[in-house]
C-alpha cells in the first residue's frame, strides 16, 4: 500500500501548520516590509514632486521678480538719465548766464577802468594846466598888474547889484572890525587911497581899512568883512575852474577797484573754459 493514511493525516496537519507558520514568519513580514518601503518611496516621490512643484513655483516667482526688478531698474535709469540731462541743461544754462553776466560785468569794469584812467589823465592835465597857468601868472604878476586889478576890482564893486550892495553895506556897518583888504602884493599908497575913496563912496562909511598881503591869491584883490567877501583874483578863477572840473570828473559812476576788475575777469575766463 503506497498510501499510509496516518502519514497523510500527519502531512495535512504538518502542511497546515507550515502554512500558518510561514504566513506568520515569512509572507506577512516580507509583504509588510515591501509595503512600508513602497509607501516610503511613494511618499518620498510625492515629497520630491511637491518640492519640485514648489521649486518651479519659486523659480517662476523669482523670474517674475527679476523681470519686474529689471523693468523698474531700466525705468529708474531712464528717469535718472532724463533728470541728469535736464539738470545738465539747467547747469549749462546757469553757467552760460553767469558767464554772460560776468562778461558784461567785465566789460563794464574795463569800461569803467578806462573811464577812470581818462578821468585821471584829465585831472592830471588840468592840474598841470593850472600849475603852468599859476606859475605864468605868478611870474607875470607885478605892481602894474596890481594896479590894473585894483581898477577892475573897483569897477566890479561899483557894478554890484542893489541886493548885494545892501547886504555888503549892512555887514560893513554892523561889523566892528575894520574892513580887511587882501592882495597878493603890497599895494602902493595911491592904490590904497583909491580903494579907501571907493569904499567911502560906495559904502558910505569912512571906516578904517586894513591892508594885508596874501601870496596864495596869485594875483588879485579881495575885501572881507564879517564873513562876507568880495574878491577878484586869478586864484579864485582857477579855484572855481578846478572845482567845476572836479565836479565834472567825479560824477557818480560804477567806480570799482582794479583788484575787483581782475577778479571778475578771472571768473569769466574760468566759466568760459568750463563751458568749452
Amino acid at each position: 500500500m503506497l498510501i499510509d493514511w496516518f502519514t497523510v493525516i500527519a502531512q495535512v496537519v504538518n502542511f497546515l501548520i507550515l502554512v500558518w507558520l510561514l504566513k506568520h514568519f515569512l509572507y506577512q513580514p516580507i509583504l509588510n516590509a515591501i509595503d512600508a518601503r513602497e509607501k516610503r518611496i511613494a511618499s518620498e516621490i510625492a515629497e520630491a514632486d511637491a518640492k519640485k512643484t514648489e521649486a518651479v513655483k519659486e523659480r517662476d516667482e523669482f523670474r517674475q521678480k527679476n523681470e519686474t526688478f529689471d523693468q523698474q531698474r531700466s525705468a529708474h535709469m531712464n528717469q535718472v538719465m532724463e533728470e541728469a540731462k535736464t539738470e545738465r541743461a539747467q547747469l549749462l544754462d546757469a553757467a552760460r548766464l553767469e558767464s554772460e553776466d560776468l562778461r558784461t560785468r567785465l566789460q563794464a569794469a574795463l569800461k569803467n577802468e578806462q573811464h577812470c584812467l581818462n578821468d585821471a589823465l584829465s585831472l592830471r592835465a588840468c592840474e598841470e594846466v593850472f600849475a603852468i597857468a599859476r606859475k605864468v601868472l605868478t611870474e607875470l604878476a607885478g605892481t602894474t598888474l596890481e594896479e590894473r586889478m585894483t581898477e577892475i576890482f573897483l569897477a566890479r564893486l561899483r557894478e554890484l547889484n542893489d541886493a548885494e550892495m545892501a547886504g555888503l553895506k549892512s555887514a560893513f556897518l554892523a561889523s566892528n572890525s575894520p574892513l580887511l583888504v587882501r592882495t597878493a602884493f603890497e599895494l602902493p599908497t595911491e592904490q590904497c587911497a583909491a580903494i579907501e575913496a571907493a569904499s567911502k563912496e560906495i559904502l558910505g562909511s569912512d571906516k578904517q581899512l586894513k591892508f594885508e598881503t596874501a601870496p596864495d591869491l596869485i594875483s588879485g584883490i579881495e575885501i572881507i568883512v564879517d564873513g562876507q567877501k568880495i574878491a577878484w583874483s586869478i586864484a579864485g578863477y582857477l579855484a572855481s575852474l578846478a572845482k567845476s572840473v572836479d565836479s565834472l570828473l567825479k560824477t557818480p559812476d560804477n567806480l570799482q577797484s582794479k583788484d575787483e576788475i581782475i577778479d571778475i575777469a578771472d571768473a569769466a575766463q574760468e566759466i568760459d573754459e568750463n563751458r568749452a
Partner: protein, 238 residues
C-alpha cells in the same frame, strides 16, 4: 530498497508512527520557519537591505506575481496557501542534494495530503468568495446532468495532482538510486541536476495548478461581482 520514505519507520505505537516522511517534513518545516524567522527578525524598510531579505522578497513577490497573473484578484489572500505549497515542494526537491535525504514529496501520502489540501481549499475559497449556494450551483453548469462529471473532474484532478507529484519525485529518486548502482560517478550527478530541475518544475506545476483551480472556483460569478462593484463605486462617487 524502499519505494517510499513512508516505509522507513523510526517509531511506532499503534496507529501513530514516526516515519522518514514525517521526520523529513519536520526537518523541512524547521528549516523553512527558522530561516524565515531569522531573516524577517530584522527587516529593513530602507532601500538598503540584506541579501537574505532580498532573496525572500524576490521569492515572495515572485509567488505573488504568479498568483495575480493567473487571475486571482487579491494575491495576498492566497499567498499563504499557494506559496507554502510551492516552497514546500521546491525545498523538498532542493534538499535532495543532501546525501541520505529523501524528499517527503516522494511519498504518495505526502502528495496525497497536499492534493487533499487543494481539494478542500478550492471549494472553501470558492464558497468564501461567492457563497455556498452559488458555488454548489456551479457544479450544475451548464446543465444539471453535468453534476456527476464535475464531481468526477474535481476528484480526478486531485488524484492527478497527487500522482503527478509523487511519480515525478519518486522516479527521480529511484532513477538516481538505480544509476548509482550502475554508473556510480558521472550519471548520478547529471541525474541529480536533472532531478533538481524536475523538482522545481513540479513545484511550479503543482502550485500553479492549485492556483488555477482556486481561480476557477472563485471566478464562477465574477461578472455579477464586477457589476456589484460598479454599483458600489457609483454609490461612493455619489
Amino acid at each position: 530498497m524502499n519505494l517510499s520514505p513512508d516505509q522507513v519507520v523510526f517509531w511506532q505505537m499503534g496507529f501513530f508512527k514516526l516515519n522518514a516522511t514525517i521526520a523529513y517534513t519536520w526537518a523541512l518545516m524547521i528549516v523553512l520557519v527558522l530561516g524565515s524567522k531569522l531573516v524577517t527578525r530584522k527587516l529593513s524598510t530602507q532601500l538598503q537591505r540584506s541579501r537574505w531579505q532580498n532573496l525572500l522578497e524576490i521569492i515572495v513577490t515572485g509567488i505573488k506575481q504568479q498568483v495575480s497573473e493567473v487571475g486571482l484578484q487579491q494575491p495576498e489572500k492566497y499567498i499563504g496557501f499557494l506559496g507554502t505549497l510551492f516552497l514546500f515542494v521546491a525545498m523538498a526537491s532542493l534538499f535532495t542534494i543532501i546525501p541520505g535525504y529523501e524528499p517527503p514529496t516522494g511519498s504518495l501520502s505526502t502528495s496525497a495530503a497536499l492534493a487533499i489540501c487543494v481539494l478542500v481549499a478550492v471549494p472553501l475559497y470558492g464558497i468564501e468568495e461567492s457563497g455556498l449556494t452559488e458555488y454548489l450551483r456551479a457544479y450544475m453548469k451548464p446543465t444539471f446532468f453535468m453534476l456527476p462529471f464535475n464531481i468526477i473532474s474535481e476528484l480526478s484532478r486531485t488524484l492527478a495532482l497527487a500522482v503527478r507529484l509523487f511519480g515525478n519525485m519518486m522516479s527521480g529518486t529511484m532513477i538516481l538510486a538505480i544509476l548509482l548502482t550502475i554508473t556510480p560517478f558521472l550519471f548520478p550527478i547529471v541525474m541529480s541536476a536533472l532531478g533538481l530541475l524536475t523538482g522545481m518544475v513540479q513545484a511550479y506545476i503543482f502550485s500553479i495548478l492549485a492556483t488555477v483551480y482556486i481561480a476557477a472556483a472563485t471566478r464562477v460569478h465574477k461578472p455579477k461581482i464586477e457589476s456589484h462593484k460598479k454599483l458600489l463605486n457609483n454609490d461612493d462617487d455619489n
